[in-house]
């Protein structure tokens, strides 16, 4: 869909965004809030195509988020650390509960699971290179582990997904941790999806599927249902890997209080909670925008649940979904996370949606800053594609370095905020350091509305 022309819609794509030209309309023409041009275009598209809109990226609607929180820097009653001289540590250890070999990361930001299939092999390699350069981990995805990824990732988390594509005990043993994926924030309760044009020979072989078919992964695991089974499944994974590897359990944020309790009961070393802003390679738009809860409340609920169980910092908490800058990192940690995970932001750091490719984005009916058709496999930046020609545009060494740079900035920014709050470790940030700008965020993060002592719903004021 061209951003300048919302009257015509190309098949399969819903118009998103509006140019300045769109806004320049005669006075007196009033656009409906309820039926704005995006809504009208989508109704027209649905009527024409008879199928839901599938796209990548994450939720695009406005949601309460970390932007709605502010830090209270040090003042007379608090003592800051010197910004450039005093140490503010960022290391994090994941998997201290049961694993013989916990992960020791230098920064509290990890790379989330993204599949080989959704992404090109060089893109996966770049994520490994970037993570390794700064001493953090990266994660496989719904498509198995590639050699490029393993080779270039010092610390690699291997996902166990319902599809079990490419799952094998050798990769399990050469992984540094195992992540049992129950769900993801973009589509809690939904399975994976990889459309036929991205099933290349190599992807098909790794997944034991015919080439070119639409691959719709199951939403439930094939050999366990419910928390009691999960406990036994985790036991099996530990037995196969001789209790060496940390076991993560990843859930999309929905009934976070119960999910965290059950994951702890099932024996997880680490819990990953992915809020509804979490990205995806291909999911129905209706799923992305209407299922799950935002990362902000999910973070606080998960941390509080671990506190309630006496397991905070014993079972580590990773949150993801909409982490963009060091402020998001610091706020998530202040609310109780041990680390955060990034996906979409890492792709952007590597070149996704770069203005450099504007002309080519236009050719496929999109624009830099709006591209979300990861499912289509025609990514001009050569990242979300299996087309060899497109993938060749992407240099994994350069891309990896960009990811590393970006991770460094996230860390520096988080340290800056932590020092301002007087913390010698980013983990010392706490909810007491935060206030909220909106009533919603105050209620969800359980911190006071700025300038008040009012925490809606938790101190009897409401």
């Amino acid at each position: 869909m061209s951003i300048e022309d919302n009257s015509g819609v190309r098949p399969g794509v819903r118009p998103r965004g509006m140019s300045d030209a769109d806004r320049e309309r005669p006075w007196g023409l009033r656009e409906s809030y309820l039926f704005d041009r995006n809504v009208i275009a989508e109704i027209q598209r649905a009527a024409r195509e008879g199928i839901y809109d599938i796209r990548g990226f994450g939720a695009k609607r406005r949601l309460p988020h970390f932007d709605d929180l502010l830090f209270l820097g040090a003042s007379v009653s608090r003592y800051p650390l010197e910004g450039y001289r005093e140490k503010c540590a960022t290391d994090v250890v994941l998997g201290t509960r049961f694993a013989k070999k916990p992960l020791e990361l230098k920064i509290p930001v990890t790379i989330a699971g993204m599949s080989f299939g959704a992404l090109s092999a060089p893109a996966k390699e770049a994520l490994g290179r970037g993570a390794t350069e700064v001493g953090t981990s990266t994660t496989t995805g719904d498509g198995g582990m590639t050699n490029e990824e393993r080779e270039h990732s010092k610390t690699l988390v291997y996902q166990l997904l319902p599809s079990r594509y490419g799952m094998n005990p050798d990769d399990l043993r050469r992984a540094d941790a195992i992540e049992v994926v129950v769900g993801q924030g973009a589509k809690p309760g939904g399975g994976g999806m990889l459309l036929g044009h991205k099933i290349s020979d190599r992807v098909a072989e790794m997944r034991s599927l015919p080439k070119g078919i639409d691959q719709r992964s199951a939403s439930r695991h094939p050999d366990w249902t419910g928390p009691d089974d999960l406990e036994i499944k985790i036991q099996e994974l530990r037995e196969i890997t001789d209790w060496e590897k940390p076991i993560f359990v990843k859930v999309g944020a929905t009934r976070t209080y119960y999910d965290v309790q059950l994951a702890v009961k099932a024996g997880a070393d680490v819990i990953v909670v992915d809020g509804m802003q979490g990205g995806t390679a291909a999911t129905q738009d209706v799923f992305i925008e209407h299922v799950g809860i935002p990362t902000l409340p999910a973070t606080r609920i998960a941390a509080d649940t671990l506190q309630e169980l006496g397991m905070h910092r014993k079972v580590q908490l990773i949150v993801s979904g909409g982490i963009r800058g060091g402020a998001d990192v610091a706020k998530a940690l202040a609310l109780g996370a041990d680390a955060v995970s990034i996906g979409t932001a890492a792709l952007i750091a590597m070149g996704d949606n770069s203005p450099e490719y504007e002309e080519q984005y236009r050719k496929i009916g999109s624009s830099a800053g709006f591209y979300d058709d990861y499912q289509a496999g025609r990514d001009p930046a050569g990242i979300s594609t299996q087309d060899d020609e497109l993938a060749a545009r992407f240099d994994p060494v350069v891309g990896g370095h960009k990811v590393a740079n970006y991770l460094r900035v996230l860390t520096l920014e988080a340290q800056t905020l932590a020092r301002a709050c007087g913390k010698s470790h980013v983990h010392n940030l706490e909810p007491e350091d935060l206030v909220a700008l909106t009533v919603e965020a105050a209620a969800m993060a359980k911190v006071p509305l700025a300038g008040t002592d009012w925490i809606p719903g938790s101190n009897g004021s409401l």
């Binding site: 005990p169 034991s208 078919i213 499944k233 036991q235 099996e236």
Partner: protein, 238 residues
Amino acid sequence: MAVVASETAELEVVDLSTTSVRELNQRLHHLAGGAPGPRGFRILNPSGAHALACGLDAEIDVEIEGHVGYYCAGMNKLATVRVHGNASTGIAENLMSGRVVVEGNVSQSAGATGRGGLLVVRGDASSRCGISMKGIDIVVGGSVGHMSAFMAQTGCLVVCGDAGDALGDSIYEARLYIRGSVAGLGADCIEKEMREEHVTQVAGLLEASGIDADASDFRRYGSARQLYNFKIDNAGAY
């Protein structure tokens, strides 16, 4: 670890009433890559324990004398595991190679996502037998429950008895051979012609399994391949 026989003997006996599952599995894992040690194991008193003899990677024979819990022989390579009893959920899940034989009945998700090797169940298998199978061959002497071979990708499921409802739902390229009745076929699963090559394939699998049945009595089911690419006209099939 209570080892009854000497470690240099051909057969090592491990009694799970005095040895932990962890010790047993560690012992078996140490034999990976052709490491020296006995090539035969006899496991006593399994008592329904979970994750027994899983993650093996050695050409060894493991005889389990009794019932086993979940995920017995899960993700194994090369080994032969024989259960002289019944098995719970996920026997031989994600099997890579080698062989797993259960003398009794098995619970749900037998051979789930298996990528190679052979699973033989002499009794019946419950629901979801062969779910998401990716190359494993499964031979069941009795019947299988509902949703068997759901999203089955490759490999063969041979059932000497009957199949429950929704057989082969959303199946890919796996071959299903059923001798008895089929309560119902799942989405995109159809009966297909049983040609000579298929009779030969079934005969080979029956022989490898030590099950006496006439291969020509079986009927073949597989994918109609109508749901391989999403078409809105098929929405009613989901």
